[in-house]
Amino acid sequence: MIELLAPALLAGLAVALVAGPMGAFVVWRRMAFFGDTLAHGALLGAALALALDVNLYLAVVVACLAIAAALVGLQQQRQITGDTLLGIVAHTTLALGVIALSLQKSVQVDLFAYLFGDLLAVNWRDVLALWAGAVLILVLLAWHWRALLSITVNEDLAQVEGVPVTRTRLILMLLLALLIAGAIRTVGVLLITSLLVIPAAGARRLSRTPEQMAALASLLGLASVCLGLTVSWYADTPVGPSIVVAAALLFGFTLLRRPDS
């Protein structure tokens, strides 16, 4: 059993580890819907990767960044508000992605695996790539931690104090795109936001500092992956959704604790 599950487990843990601090920023900066939109757009990236026969991760990162840039451009006008724009872009790119995938003649594409992830299908090469990506994201996060936190608290104050606000915002966007690219094969397009948001939300009630919250979110995510995989193995449930339900259960437990502060 362990030989079969080991790659899946290690891949899931890599994603959950990074989803902790990244999810904390998504929660603090109210980017949940934004992350969701990027994830939906990732499907389009994956479809294009198949059609053009280029690297999947690269294509997804490029697609996410293109969508982020398009959103920034669209937000220049004021008659359609941000969340409406996100709704338009998210579902349009999702639809385009599904159409593009269905048009693939050469390979049979398992759409379900892209939407909900297929952790059990990852091989050791994927695991290696995921951990390399995870380490890269964590290093970049640690390096820019204070700047990221500063612009999250107040962008004006950060800028007056010499933080390069625009660059820091771009770094956060890039890290999010990298994470989504890694997660698309493991938990899938539709569930990645939940792995970002649910553990971070659970960690909030147990934390008094941002670092505590980020670390606890990682821990809750790791526990969710272990729990979800176990349930999936014994009850033969789909892996991705099982992990999300496990995360939601753990979040439910944190509600039992009275908030301090």
Binding site: V27, W28, R30, R146, L149, S150, T152, V153, N154, D156, L157, A158, Q159, V160, E161, R204, S207, R208, T209, P210, Q212, M213, S261
Partner: protein, 262 residues
């Protein structure tokens, strides 16, 4: 944003700036110089462009016309009008200050002591009252050892004795560090008393100069009306200057403790 020459003492020089949001002109041909050791107060009614001018000084906004020059290596401490903290971010006051001054725990404690809120160090920022938050924000601005301190409506939500203490503290900081201070206010309470230069703004500079000179300027009275904010101003002037009546308004009593017709 160009730089002033190194031998120039001036902190920030604003030359004839203009700025419009669409068809609505916010600032028109406004000039202003900020010098070290001098407290400059920007007064004017709501929507007069005071905050926009401050944002130009801070480098947060670019002017459409004119230019803003700053001294090379200028360190600015900024206290925004208010800061909304999202409760989703757990942050103690000490961590909040750490964002501006990493490493120096001692310095952070001293800064809080200075603004009279040392007891809040371990409290969550999101739970602070308006007045507490203002003092924490001031501590954060002071922590940067600024050459220029910019405060947007620092007296908002602070009671009168708190305001008095606040302006007293600003005067002290100026005397000790020699920094320049730019204050924004829409009311005249106490502000005039503690300031070296007053700039009266209503999209353009209506008048500027010492508090005494501005208070005699007809443009000032056109802007604030014969009695707008006057009683408090008169209280101050009575304390320090018996030579002139401020408003010349017969209904206005310039004497402290005098009777009021209401």
């Amino acid at each position: 944003m160009s730089q002033l020459r190194a031998d120039n003492q001036t902190l920030v020089a604003v030359h004839g700036v203009g700025l419009a949001y669409g068809a609505h002109s916010v600032l028109d041909d406004v000039s202003l110089t900020l010098e070290p050791g001098r407290i400059t107060t920007l007064i004017g009614p709501n929507g007069a462009g005071k905050s926009t001018l401050a944002r130009l000084v801070l480098g947060l906004t670019r002017p459409d016309r004119g230019r803003v020059e700053r001294r090379a290596g200028l360190r600015i401490g900024y206290m925004p009008q208010h800061l909304e903290m999202d409760e989703s971010l757990p942050l103690t006051v000490d961590r909040f200050l750490w964002l501006a001054a990493p490493g120096r725990t001692r310095a952070r404690r001293d800064a809080l002591q200075r603004t009279g809120v040392a007891h809040l160090r371990r409290r969550a920022v999101s739970g602070l009252s308006g007045g507490e938050m203002q003092r924490v924000l001031l501590a954060r601005a002071l922590l940067r050892k600024p050459d220029l301190l910019v405060l947007d409506e620092p007296a908002q939500g602070v009671d009168v004795s708190g305001q008095d203490a606040l302006y007293g503290l600003l005067g002290q900081v100026r005397d000790e560090t020699g920094c320049g201070i730019l204050l924004i206010s829409h009311d005249l309470h106490l502000v005039m008393a503690r300031t070296d230069q007053v700039v009266c703004l209503h999209h353009h500079v209506c008048c500027s100069g010492t508090p005494e000179a501005v208070s005699r300027d007809p443009a000032y009275h056109r802007l604030f009306g014969p009695s707008g904010g006057m009683p408090n101003l008169a209280v101050y002037t009575h304390d320090h200057d018996h030579d002139h009546d401020l408003s010349g308004d017969p209904h206005h009593d310039a004497h402290q403790g005098g009777h009021h017709h209401d």
